[in-house]
Amino acid sequence: MKLLYFAWVRERLGKAEEEIDPPAGVATVGELIAWLARRGEEYAYAFENPKVIRAAIDRSHVRAEARIAGAGEIAFFPPMTGG
């Protein structure tokens, strides 16, 4: 599946997007964040406080309990500050 990163999440990771193939045990957005955080130093830094990370699946906001099966595109970003 495709992951997208925005704002300081993108800056901390040093990339805007990537393709990943998480293991079978990773079923929810929250579990995906925990799995990503273990992938390296920059991931640990970007996801050090999962509570402030917002997520969207296929361009709709979702909560940490949301299941990722069938997702085409998952985005991670900080709380929004537009307007």
Binding site: L4, F6, A7, A75
Partner: protein, 161 residues
């Protein structure tokens, strides 16, 4: 209902957007516009500019969802939302929300509702350029509180005649 949603780098003419909202129709009795402008300071410190990052595709979709929700709550005749992205300097317009209705109450309420949701739900992020460097603007809890007051089940209106 006439709906215009645009995300763009370029500046735009607010008067022309308002004119487009009412052009050719005689049922509009009220147009409310909200204009968000880039300030010269952020949290007390002067800034040179701010840069707005957005999630293309989702930003449009999220705004459209809230315009739809607003039209279910109030008898609107037209809505225009234009949000800029890229680098903006103090004094430049960031966002325009314009709502048209037969009467002012619906237009005022819908404009406020849309702005409250834009601040907290539309995927945009502001980064400011200060003398000390670039920093991301932190989300404001007061914006969440403002958006939450709309979360009680809305009274649905009769379809606009």
């Amino acid at each position: 209902m006439t709906v215009t949603i645009r995300l763009q780098r370029e500046a735009f003419d607010i008067a022309a957007e308002v004119a487009a909202l009412t052009a050719g129709r005689a049922d509009v009795g009220a147009v409310v516009t909200f204009t968000g402008v880039c300030r010269a300071d952020e949290a007390g410190a002067p800034i040179a500019a701010l840069t707005l990052e957005h999630y293309p595709g989702m930003a449009e979709a999220e705004i459209a969802r809230h315009v739809e929700e607003a039209s279910a709550r109030w008898p609107l005749l037209g809505v225009t939302v234009i949000h800029r992205h890229g680098r903006l300097t103090p004094g430049e317009v960031i966002v325009l929300v314009a709502t048209a209705s037969s009467h002012r109450q619906a237009a005022f309420a819908a404009a406020e509702f849309l702005m409250d949701y834009l601040k907290t739900r539309a995927p945009f992020w502001k980064q400011v350029e200060k003398v000390s460097g670039k920093t991301w603007v932190a989300a404001n809890a007061a914006d969440d509180t403002a958006a939450e007051r709309w979360s009680t089940p809305p009274p649905r209106h009769e379809a606009a005649k």
